[in-house]
């Protein structure tokens, strides 16, 4: 954690609390959430469904406002969505009436980038995500994995300082998911992109993250921040599952999110 503190904080949550009403009952989605994410970090947020992790991502994106507390971007309170914080959703958010290139270039088009430059940037991204030959296809003509690649590329295209990803691979089949995860790691590391990745899968969280924010079930609170040893850019699943350190982290995070952890090990928290 010491090395992380040396970097500049980019996202901060201060005493965040979020409540909403469902069927006349008040539900506390987030409570006392304090979190600092530094520029260049790849953070994974993991927790059981209903722990408010998606709400947290929406608040950081500016698509939701907390009931109390503050969410800061670069030290300033977040007011509404902005192109500084991109977001990839679990559901298919790419527009079905736009082609692959139309979707990927959408953010650049909104930013007013000249057409020639935009086309060049989009072509690069298409190559990077391996969708050459599918440029003029509509999302309905693509597989689930390809569509999520388009969604990621659309957000990546504008190079926002922060990218929030809310379970982006949850709807993709297990084998494609592995490939997408490996590609994401490579993309994030080579571009030094700050990513906040929300997931309910402990393995995914451990595989992707520099550190893991483990959250409790309703009301959502941050239980512990678990660092992951650096596995390098070209980490693969095969390599990760054989590493005993990773195995230990996975079981620790499992204990946490299932609420079975014995008193949080102080040694790990201050590691």
């Amino acid at each position: 954690m010491i090395q992380l503190n040396e970097r500049k904080p980019i996202l901060q949550a201060i005493n965040l609390r979020h409540e909403y009403e469902a069927r006349g009952q008040k539900i506390v989605a987030l409570q006392d959430v304090n979190l600092t994410i530094n520029a260049g970090d790849f953070v994974t947020v993991v927790g059981p469904s209903g722990c408010g992790k998606s709400t947290l991502a929406k608040i950081f994106a500016g698509l939701g406002t907390p009931t109390s507390g503050e969410a800061l971007y670069a030290g300033k309170p977040i007011k509404g969505a902005s192109s500084e914080r991109g977001m990839v959703f679990q559901e298919l958010a790419v527009l079905p009436w736009r082609t692959v290139v139309g979707n990927i270039g959408h953010g650049l088009e909104i930013a007013g980038m000249p057409k020639a430059e935009r086309e060049q940037r989009v072509a690069e991204l298409v190559r990077l995500i391996g969708l050459e030959g599918f440029e003029k296809k509509y999302p309905s003509e693509l597989s689930g994995g390809m569509r999520q690649r388009v969604a990621v590329a659309r957000t990546w295209a504008t190079r926002p300082p922060v990218i929030l990803m809310d379970e982006p691979f949850a709807a993709v089949d297990a084998i494609t998911r592995l490939t997408l995860q490996e590609e994401l790691i490579r993309l994030a590391r080579t571009t030094k992109q700050t990513v906040v990745f929300i997931t309910h899968s402990v393995e995914e969280a451990v595989f992707l993250g520099d550190y893991i924010v483990a959250m409790s079930s309703r009301p959502g609170r941050v239980l512990e921040i678990v660092p992951v040893p650096d596995m390098g850019i070209n980490r693969t699943w095969e390599q990760m599952i054989r590493d005993p350190r990773i195995e230990a982290i996975v079981s620790r995070v499992f204990e946490l999110v299932r609420g079975r952890a014995v008193a949080p090990s102080t040694e790990r928290q201050h590691a």
Partner: protein
Amino acid sequence: MHRSSSLMHLPAWVVQTSSIFGLFLVWTVASRFVAEPAILPSPAASFQAMADLIARGTLTSAVQESLITLVIGCAICIICVVPFALSIAQSRQLAMILQPMVRFISCVPAIALIPLFIVWFGFSTKAVYATLFYTSAIPLLFSVITGVQKIPRVYADGLRPLGAGPFRIVRDVYLPGAMPGIEVGIRLALSYGWRAVIAGELIIGSSGLGRVLAQARAANQVDQIVAVMIAIAVLFLIIDRLILFPWNQLISSRWSSF
């Protein structure tokens, strides 16, 4: 069982054509049976009457008048209603307040409003336009609102972090996303509108096919009445098949959800 399955093997157009052919067969037999051309003219007599009306130029100019009224009226309706519907669909509260109001108004059939339109606009094409507008606006409004409400929220949410403002979101999400609803609305507007034009012209008697119908009735020319009826049906079939149907196919293929 055997018969129905063998019917299935025929191409659809053969079945459809023979169905229409059957209608004419029944009509021929019925007109023979009635044997009174002043009550039910035979198909042959009706087509003869149609040919006469065309030769005199009555039918062609009436068709022109009615179609122009339909097209201009629907265009005005689309220009007024689509932006209105898009804006009220944005706000759930506004839609909630306005929908019962519009629903109540829509309970009054257009034909019942024609007397009012005659008082306001006289026996003129304006009264026909009013009837058409009233009839077409309501299904169009509801279709567009439904179309917008069917757009997944995540489409707009996904665009905001890309830097899209409200105007962008309407242009890039709501307008194209509501296309299937707009398309259904325009189809309904045209088909309801076509009926409204004929009914309006028939009662108001200003111009078009409705007036020819009214004149034929006054002159007791039943064969002409039937001829005009066929013209009305065929015209709408052509509009629907040649223009609206291909458009619908295009939209539903592109907009199909995953």
